[in-house]
């Protein structure tokens, strides 16, 4: 929306509160407040995809070479590291 959402008038609301712009959740970067993030040891990664499957946030993306990397939505929950078949994922604290 061009206007800040807390400035919108009732007349400007879409009927039924429908959000007509699809995929707007993309703008909400849930990775912003993580305190740790996963790091893959590619020498031991099998590219099995379990980490991608179990991630609750769609916070892991598959790279073109078949390995996996966190994205802006990773919240640092550590489930991928816990479930990794080879144990090649380490949770590392964020800087700052």
């Amino acid at each position: 929306m061009s206007k800040a959402w807390d400035q919108v008038t009732w007349q400007e609301l879409e009927i039924g509160g429908v959000l007509t712009e699809p995929g707007s959740a993309r703008a909400y970067r849930t990775g912003d407040w993580r305190s740790m993030h996963p790091v893959w040891d590619k020498t031991r990664c099998l590219k099995c995809g379990v980490c991608w499957t179990v991630c609750p946030e769609a916070g892991i993306s598959e790279e073109p070479d078949g390995y996996f990397e966190m994205n802006d939505y990773c919240k640092g929950c550590g489930i991928c590291a816990k479930e990794c078949v080879t144990g090649c994922i380490t949770m590392v604290p964020e800087e700052g």
Binding site: W5, T9, W10, I15, G16, G17
Partner: protein
Amino acid sequence: MGQRIGMEVSIAVSHAVQLARAEAIAAYPITPQTHIVEHLSSLVANGELEAEFVTVESEHSAMSACVGSAATGARTYTATSSQGLALMHEILFIASGMRLPIVMSVANRALSAPLNIWNDHGDIMAEKDIGWIQVFVENGQESFDHHIMAFKIAENHQVLLPTIINLDGFILTHVVEPLEMLSQETVDKFLPPLVPYHRLDHKKPVTMGAFALPELYAETKMAHQVALTNSYQPILEVWREWGELTGRHYHPVEHYRTEGAKVLLLIMGSLAEVAEVAVDEMQDAGQAVGLIKPRLWRPFPFQDLRQALAGAELVIVCDRAMSLGGAANPVMAEVRSALYPLAKKPPVLGYAVGLGGRDVQPQAFKDLVAHALSEIKQGPSEEYYMVGVRG
């Protein structure tokens, strides 16, 4: 123009829904709505109505399914009563907040406890605030007519609100009466296919039923309030069109023998017809008592009601429900509230009549008018009254 036919009113309602070409029906059976949905399910099974009939496991699911189906742009219908309506309660607000044009029959029935399957308005009066359009009908013909019109009203892009047609359980649903049945051709001309305003479509994705923070919620309620209030004109326009088509003209508030009447009875639903008989008898005996029959309950017809009542010397509101421990019976409360701002306003007394299907004869109305007149003379002895209670 149509065909005069004898039919059980429930079946007539099913036919209205069939003629309206409903596309999706999700319903759960509850006395006394059962004949409506049973017949519709037969029509769907026989291929006489091309619709999805979803047999859900509860009324909560029924309304949930209706919300889903209406969201995809299907013309959606359901019916319920009493406990079933109560069970749908949380979804009713959602259906209207999402501005989905669902049409629902409520075969009015008393609420438990104790368990009572007979007619009163307890079920719908517990749903005054759901933000739906609500209409009351008095007989079989009106039941048939208003269901067809309901789709046209609900689906109007100036309206986009779910709509309830209230018909008295058993008293209307289970009576065989004559009525004029319309042809498919006539109804098709009156009611074109549904054109959804918004719909769930993977080719053009939208989000429905989103979340609203405190900074937005009040604005959404204002938008809804304005839509519901402003649906008044589109409703009258549809009724006007129907009047031209069929010769049957409907109004937000109906009057019966009110000219020169200083005492006005007020009641909604099929008991209004019984009250008419009482009014005839009272007028024949020289009593100037008239009858006001509100038909449009939501949006509340302020002007029509004020015009109807302002000149009276006494208004006697007959509710078919109570608000236990409340300031007034439901209809009585709203009538008083509507009259309150007027400089000159009549006293309003309220009676709860025919609760739980108690038989109401014309004499009962004559008795309560006499009671009201005496109460007004001596000063009302109670906040509101209940009729016919033994003990």
